[in-house]
Symmetry: C2
């Protein structure tokens, strides 16, 4: 049997608090079984196309989350869980994983996937991944673009140009004109109207040697770091941990999007419609869970009386809501958040306030 060149790198280092109080510093979003039934990180691995062998699925996370990650992914070889000595955004994470894929197979074709997204249509997802990896074989860097359905200000966008190829399954490949950061409302509306902008899914596909080349050209600090890691021998060898720590000291702290993709030599996007959602706020539960007759989205033990369009989540606690409209109630045994649905993002203010109080509920 031929050795598969396909690798997946799952970025599982997030420590976001956007779904606080369900998500925590030591229990970030990827571990949440929202919308369920399994944690998003587990679902991310489970939805991979079978062409990527589990032995070639790597997860990169922080040291404090490594054991939790291993427990959730017991079917991955233990050495496939890469624990970053320090968080330096996604470029070092991706670079390090690429080095380890290349160590195993110099012809590695790598899918880089966030670990905390919900994708409703696995079939379309797998088709898109196959198309992107096939296309990446020729040296392009691919990303998946999500067809925008509203003038969302919480996502980055990708502007696409002419179609450059048509892949199996009918997936069109387009040249990328540019990546743009989260826009303001009127710009987002413009993007939506223009029809040539996609949401940036944060999923990337490339050959290992291609990303190494881009990093060499764009991020000299990270490039030096990766050279040091590559020279250190296999992860279980003497001196690897020290080399890794030293290397992360050298690396620029920057996202792979900004640090590499925006200026990559040959970057393409495959627009697709696969029921993607980044579950980036409690409000987004409306998109990933069914509503009751009154428009309420509920998870866990809840009692919702005479209320409409609410998001109510009771995690190991009972959340009771009476006579309310358009609010979020998210409860855990040690904390509860109550806000207007449209204020979901303000959870950050709560976490900041709790941090100042040295509360244990963060």
């Amino acid at each position: 049997m031929a050795v598969s060149p396909y690798f997946a790198v799952i970025m599982a280092g997030g420590s976001g608090t956007r779904l606080w109080p369900a998500s925590r510093a030591n229990f970030p979003k990827q571990f949440l079984d929202i919308p369920g039934p399994v944690p998003m990180l587990r679902a991310t691995v489970d939805r991979l196309p079978p062409e990527i062998p589990l032995t070639q699925v790597l997860a990169v996370t922080g040291e404090t989350l490594a054991e939790q990650t291993r427990r959730l992914l017991p079917d991955l070889p233990r050495e496939n869980i890469l624990a970053e000595p320090v968080a330096k955004n996604t470029a070092p994470c991706v670079g390090w994983a690429a080095v380890e894929c290349l160590r195993r197979n110099p012809e590695a074709i790598i899918a880089v996937l966030p670990s905390d997204q919900h994708i409703a249509n696995t079939t379309v997802f797998r088709g898109a991944v196959r198309a992107a990896m096939e296309r990446a074989r020729g040296g392009a860097i691919l990303t998946l673009g999500i067809r925008p359905t509203r003038p969302e200000t919480g996502y980055g966008y990708i502007e696409r140009a002419e179609e450059t190829a048509r892949m199996d399954g009918g997936f069109a490949v387009h040249r990328v004109v540019r990546f743009v950061e989260k826009p303001d409302r009127s710009t987002a509306q413009l993007y939506l109207d223009r029809g040539v902008f996609e949401w940036n899914s944060g999923m990337f596909f490339f050959r290992g040697d291609v990303i190494r080349g881009e990093i060499h050209g764009q991020l000299p600090g990270l490039d030096a770091a990766l050279a040091r890691i590559a020279a250190a021998g296999a992860p279980d060898s003497d001196g690897y941990a020290a080399a890794l720590r030293e290397a992360f000291g050298l690396a620029e702290s920057v996202s792979i999007d900004v640090g590499v993709m925006e200026n990559a030599r040959r970057i393409e996007v495959i627009p697709c419609d696969m029921g993607w959602n980044d579950v980036g706020s409690w409000q987004s539960l409306r998109d990933v869970t069914p509503a009751d007759d009154a428009g309420n989205h509920v998870l866990g033990e809840t009692v919702v009386i005479d209320s409409r369009n609410c998001v109510v989540v009771g995690r190991n606690t009972a959340a009771a809501v009476v006579g309310m409209e358009d609010i979020v109630v998210a409860a855990t045994p040690d904390a509860v958040l109550v806000c207007k649905t449209s204020d979901s993002q303000r959870v950050r203010e709560v976490v900041d306030a709790l941090r100042k109080k040295h509360s244990r509920a963060i």
Copy 2:
């Protein structure tokens, strides 16, 4: 030293859920330290005038709450905690306690006090209790009336007539015309306007023989029950428990207000203003706790951002509220309630719903 004739009977059998989720079937309101710093039952004992010796303070509760009550009142003799074999409203509770007071002192003058009220002004309270007990010595049944400040529909009222006496401390005693049940809004307004209606505090004062006489005349079932208990010997004697259980079987299930007071021979009221509050809903926290600059009343660990006129309670859990107005958020580790302040009473619907679901959070 003369034996004191003064007894207090604390009615501590409540199993109300009006402050759910803080109050529970097995942790009713009287155990809550709201508004604090001590539980309301404890505060009830602590505010008694010193003329009532602790050895003559009895607390009547249910069997399931007896141990909890003893622990909260360790300074009371253990035998002073009376555990009802079955809950039959307040008339049997008061009758039984009266029998036990009379067993100790045939000239007992008894103050019957709810265990779950907040009284801001202890000095006025003590003065009123002294006045009522002194007046009760002559054979009257006294109650304390609370000057109404709003057309409250959640309380019973007492209509008073002419002044019959003026006691030490300037407390006026009035003849009671009638007790009236919780009125509707327009009737409550009428009562407020008339100026001769007081809120029924649920506190009563009488000689033991007087209440026994009233029960004899008005509640034959309870009268027979009390005779049986009285004949059974002291509570620690053989056969007392059986007699008690049998007696409670005979007793009418009725409140002392309806069963006795409304038709009592000689009943009087002392109007007073002592910062009384029955803490009967989360909304009532507004009356018993200070507000912050935005009109929010908070207890426990809370984060309240950009919100006004909210009641926010975090009991062993952090309650975070952002951008809300006029709502109640009451949270415990296993349940949270969210409703409009004006809907505070609808907590009953929540508890009913949870009961149907066999939830453990009730």
